[in-house]
Assembly symmetry: C2
Homo-oligomer: 811 residues x 2
């Protein structure tokens, strides 16, 4: 049997695409009484959670069905874990649009409906943007509060976080000592005074820190495990796959949204080495999916829905970094597949709305959307490009090291017993993280806060260790210039170095555990530490050699050199993130929006480009593409060029020695014969030919449509029996002796995309990518020879990349 | 005869695509002795100017030809005014790439060549960026100097402009009076003292201003007329057409570059209501084209060359507005057609390099790339969204009014005698502009300078009329807040209003005259004037009603309200420009890069969106698309959705009553018969079929390739005579009695893109757009029925849009 558009694979997929969670579901099932059905749980859960929201509403889209000539309902929908047919979906939408435009003349109400339809895209992205902004605000506030909960609690109002608590008490400083309202756990447990007591207090704080971390992490992983297994990880690889035209029901449902939001707060608060910026994209995409069901135009058309999802992804990054333009470019560069100009505009609008809402919520109290917003004014010098390029190369090195290690560890997890104990793994990682990170103040603090400190200039009011410079004058201007560093700076450097080792390693084991986890923030932290270290080194080098002609233009006088170590930290962060994700333009724009200074684009761009080039030289894939490959998602990467010389005849099914292609003739098969084909094969669709001898192609019919039509006719149409002949032709002979014929021309796609057997595969791949095909028929001199499905193409690409084609698609 | 891929159209095109200049060439030929060949001049000029640079270098691309199986040279090139075949060009490039990769193993030199090939894209865009930055710097400096020349000259160093002149003399103010080195013409001509003399001096200045303007304008139009007729206009419509896959030889050649650069300086200096920002895109694209010939990978492959051109367009906007990100988005949103991610990265790199070079040149001496860079810090209030939306609506109204009027005037010019006197028209417009603009100081000044003044806040040091506020205190902080306006502000408002009327009207007649002219700056000036007027109105309204609860949050006290009229000017400028060009995201980003303040994105976005919606409601096309339609360029707009229900059978040639399609059989036609087809038809290509009875499609052969191959065989191949049979099949019978067969399978495209006759035209249009097809063959049940070329599609789109299909393509 040929493997043409095979349908039985859907069950394989069902367990396959859930690869990241499959190991667990069979073992840790006792703590979950909601749905205890063993291996099949995931699907059941998916179906259950999304019955209302994921199944398209036939009733509300009944006017669509009118235009589709009263076909039985359900035609034009997709099964779970199937590939969508973009051309067909977009054609369906145009048909719907024409129907509405035609009806507009009929009356006032139809005019209103038509206007509603025209505006619904904008309204939908506005709603999605507002929702994404709200979600981000709530998550930011919740995560801050819970993070502070690890250290203490506000005496009079437990719902306030540390900063708000101190603020409400009108204290001037936010240190543990200076804030009277804020009680650390050791204070509450009564261990305050005396030197010995202080040591005891430290131990109490330490233990409670670890305890809270473990509790938070356990809650997060249990939530994820019980309510929405899809909520783990960053979600970006899956969203890329979905946007490329794949159906994963429930991945963007409301339970996933809720679980991911709560799980993210808990996981961040647990002090794990992960960020909430990547998952924001998933959360925003969930909002996009949910709101698209308010508008049948988008909810019941998978291709159109992806326009909303692209915009939602932009909104996700917009709220994650306060960078609406960067978000749009991220969606364009990294996530989206089909990105028409209209989507560009709507993405921008959506990203803007989200940023506006988040700014109104103002979760960090600094009038900016992120904790680590900075503003530099100092110039940079041409000589500094050398360390910037060096940072870029380091970022590329780290990126490919991290990707290789992380993928190796994830593969080990999948193939070993470890994968069967996800909650235990989460607890283990949390325990190690909490125990090792508490003693070092730079790893103990919130990672966003660490990045903020590393990015910031040392202003007049800064008393942190990193800003302990030996300043001779106290004038304001001297604070912005570089001088000889004090001892505390060197202490801080050592602590940062230790923190770097710790963060660099623990992130490898953290990204991939079964809690919501992003790696923007940990990668940036690693890069920022390296950058700050290099920056301070450069600064001291210049300050000590300010007479050297090479450095002369950087120093006005002996005391006044303008080097900003914070800028190095930012460049380092961009380079590390670039090395891990291989983003370029969008990353630079995000960084640019974080600083608001156009002048740093050149350093950032150089570092990010170097990082990408170095990274690409050591390993082609970014972390998201690597995870897509690891999990075997059917993703046809539009970035990679297909450079082989194979032709369509090499790829099509049936192969040379296979049985011939399973086809339906246009006017000679009975209902019974067609039903026999359904039983014998599992193909998703069948070519219709003139006659089985000539094999000249007439059209293509989908299995799902054909089954529905036959079932419908058997039930409702008089005279249709097993002996009735199925006609796809326009002329149907009218013989009263024969059983009533079954006319199915209207479900026949008479314009299937065809190619010749000599077509180079690069053209075929291009057509699959750009037209969003699901399959194409292969002909030679007009005769049907075979079929190529998207999965055949993916298998072929994998094979040419020296990978096992089956492992690529179904692990 | 069917009109399939018709070639005879090229001559029609030749005069047609030059629509903007054709009227002139037959009449004003006396002042041009270089090339006086009447109507055919343009082609001659184009060919002459570009013989060396535009004709691909066959010699340097000989290694490419090796991989193409030693085909005769010239195969794979295009005629002038023809459409390119993207799929084929990209396939050719991959073949070349594979060839180089294969050769890499052979030795060190091949490794170097391979590395050079891999990097050549980056090197090329770097060179293009640097060149674009240099050109922009030179043009900026030259235009400033020449503009000042209209008023006076530097006494001791004539090559300095006014600002540099005063600077060199260490004068503190740049006014006419305060600068000792700068001599106005009236001073030089000796009319200084006394009241009467002052009046005389004014008249002298006025006359000399007009005189200089006329001289500059005449020089500009004569340069354009004599050296490069393609240098007139903004060039963006033509670049859009070229990027969509059309060949206009000489449009991006070095003569065009030189003429456009010089002509731009002259035209701007003449004080005409035009800008140099649009033409910067053309200049950058010329650089892109010229440098692409250094790299055969790009120079000899039209599809690949367009990647460089897209990047160059981004660089053009980058230097025009100092907005690299905006430039990339402009290229993506407005100009480019085929924009893969790799091009995104390279465009960004190119735009950055250009901006970096221009900043190093620092033409305006303000460390920014544009004259009107501003920095705001004041917040905006929610109530202000009402005037912002109002400004957006005004911008949309103005935009569609301007577009309609301008197109009507251009159409009148084409169809009347006016078009035959282009230089006279330029002189007339210049005379009117100079006479009317001198008395009003806001229209007399450089338009960029006007925009700068309108955008700027009134700082403490500002003594301009627009900043004459009644301030009670002299503290610094009071200067940034709004108070009651003084009398001079009202005078300024009246002058601005008159200037608005003048600029709004004269621009309609200016855009389209035969000098290099952009309309970014004039549109922005119109919008900025309206914005500033509305802004001052709003400011005074709030100041006078600061107790009104609606305005209360905008004023801290009676004297301190924070309204920035400059922000209104900026919003107005964005709205007007948006109304004219219908740009959205890129425009907002450009404005955002001009201000460097993320916080103004919401007002800008709202205004630009309103402007686009209002504009679209009144007329669909932006000015560039309107000019494309006016000139009949074969541009298949990818922004407009095709919403009709026609199918391929309605569009294909031959039509129902036409003679059958002209085909070649694969193994039964003689050389003579094929040559007869060449004589009788003008098609660009011929389908090859199994036999003329069955009409089953085998492949497609290009006329050019077939002619070259036959001519080549007749010359070099023994035994090939008129009776030889042309074989496209793989089996060639070996009969010694027959004349030697001519085997041409290797020039046969055995994978032509085919569709069925039932394919909806929306799918066909989609395929043409996304795959960059030149033609597609139409089949029914495997039999060849007809052909659809890109021009057929364009004609069909025009027809459905109720336009005369022939007028669209060939006027």
């Amino acid at each position: 049997m040929t493997d043409q558009t095979s349908m039985d694979l859907s069950t394989k997929y069902r367990s396959g695409a859930n690869g990241t969670t499959e190991g667990r579901s069979s073992t840790v099932s006792t703590d979950d009484e909601l749905l205890d059905i063993g291996d099949g749980r995931m699907e059941a859960l998916g179906n259950w959670a999304d019955l209302e929201e994921m199944e398209p509403k036939y009733s509300s889209s009944s006017n669509l069905m009118d235009t589709l000539e009263d076909l039985p309902s359900g035609i034009g929908q997709y099964e779970d874990f199937h590939t969508i047919d973009w051309l067909r979906d977009i054609a369906r939408d145009r048909m719907r649009h024409r129907h509405i435009t035609k009806k507009r003349q009929e009356g006032c109400w139809e005019k209103v409906l038509s206007a509603h339809d025209a505006w619904s895209g904008w309204v939908c992205v506005l709603l999605v943007g507002v929702a994404a902004g709200l979600c981000a605000g709530i998550i930011d506030i919740g995560a801050t509060w819970m993070s502070d909960l690890k250290e203490g609690i506000c005496k009079e109002a437990f719902w306030l976080n540390k900063e708000q608590c101190c603020w409400s008490a009108n204290d001037t400083t936010y240190d543990d000592e200076g804030c009277s309202q804020w009680n650390t756990w050791s204070e509450i447990l009564g261990a305050q005074t005396g030197k010995k007591a202080a040591a005891g207090g430290y131990i109490v704080k330490y233990l409670l820190y670890v305890l809270w971390a473990v509790v938070f992490a356990m809650l997060a992983s249990m939530f994820v495990h019980s309510f929405a297994p899809y909520a783990c990880g960053s979600g970006i690889p899956e969203i890329k796959t979905i946007l490329s035209g794949f159906i994963i029901r429930g991945y963007l449902g409301k339970w996933t949204l809720l679980t991911k939001s709560v799980g993210m707060m808990l996981a961040v608060s647990a002090g794990l080495s992960l960020g909430k910026e990547g998952p924001f994209v998933h959360v925003a995409a969930c909002c996009g999916n949910i709101f698209s069901y308010l508008f049948p135009k988008y909810g019941s058309n998978e291709a159109k829905k992806r326009e909303i999802l692209s915009a939602a992804a932009a909104a996700g990054v917009s709220v994650a970094f306060g960078a609406p333009i960067g978000g749009v470019l991220f969606s364009l560069e990294e996530v989206s597949y089909y990105f028409p100009l209209k989507t560009l505009w709507r993405s921008f609008f959506c990203a803007l709305a989200a940023a506006f809402v988040l700014r109104s919520i103002n979760p960090f109290g600094n009038d900016h959307l992120v904790m680590f917003y900075v503003e530099y004014n100092e110039p940079w010098y041409l000589q500094e490009l050398i360390p910037f390029i060096f940072l870029g190369a380091l970022g590329g090195l780290y990126g490919s090291f991290f990707n290789k290690m992380n993928i190796a560890w994830c593969r080990y997890r999948k193939n070993s017993k470890l994968g069967q104990y996800p909650i235990v793994e989460v607890l283990g990682v949390t325990l190690v993280t909490a125990i090792l990170s508490y003693p070092n103040k730079y790893t103990r603090m919130n990672t966003s806060e660490l990045i903020r400190q590393l990015f910031s200039r040392c202003g007049a009011e800064d008393k942190t260790m990193l800003c302990d410079y030996n300043r001779n004058s106290t004038s304001l201007s001297s604070y912005t210039s570089s001088t000889v560093a004090g001892d505390e700076v060197y202490t801080a450097l050592w602590m940062l170095f230790l923190g770097l080792l710790f963060k660099g390693l623990i992130t490898i084991f953290t990204f991939g555990i079964k809690v919501p986890s992003g790696l923007f923030i940990p990668s940036m932290a690693v890069g920022a530490i390296v950058g700050r270290i290099v920056g301070i080194g450069m600064e001291q080098l210049v300050v000590r050699n300010h007479d050297n002609p090479f450095f002369q233009n950087m120093c006005q006088s002996k005391q006044f050199c303008t080097i900003t170590p914070g800028l190095y930290a930012m460049v380092g962060a961009a380079a590390a993130l670039g090395g891990v994700t291989r983003m370029t333009v969008s990353l630079v724009v995000i960084m640019f929006e974080l600083t608001g200074g156009l002048q740093y684009i050149v350093p950032l761009m150089l570092a990010v480009m170097t990082s990408k080039w170095v990274g690409d030289a050591l390993g082609k894939d970014g972390i998201y593409d690597a995870h897509i490959a690891l999990n075997g998602y059917p993703y046809l990467d539009s970035k990679k060029e297909f450079t082989h010389t194979t032709i369509a005849a090499d790829v099509m099914r049936p192969r040379r020695n296979d049985p011939p292609l399973c086809v339906i003739t246009q006017d000679s098969m009975t209902v019974e014969e067609v039903e026999a084909i359904f039983r014998d094969t599992s193909h998703n669709g069948f070519p219709v030919v003139l006659s089985s001898e000539s094999q000249y192609l007439v059209g293509f019919v989908l299995r799902r449509d054909l089954m529905l039509a036959i079932a419908n006719a058997r039930k409702n149409q008089e005279g249709v029996v097993s002996n009735s002949i199925v006609y796809f032709s326009s002329q149907v002979p009218n013989n009263p002796n024969d059983p009533a014929p079954l006319k199915l021309r209207k479900i026949l796609d008479m314009a299937p995309i065809t190619i010749t057997d000599q077509t180079p595969m690069e053209t075929v791949v291009e057509m699959f990518r750009k037209l969003g095909l699901r399959q194409t028929l292969v002909t030679h001199n007009g005769r049907l020879l075979g079929i190529i499905t998207k999965k055949d193409v993916l298998r072929h690409v994998a094979q040419l990349g020296n990978q096992d084609p089956e492992s690529i698609l179904f692990n």
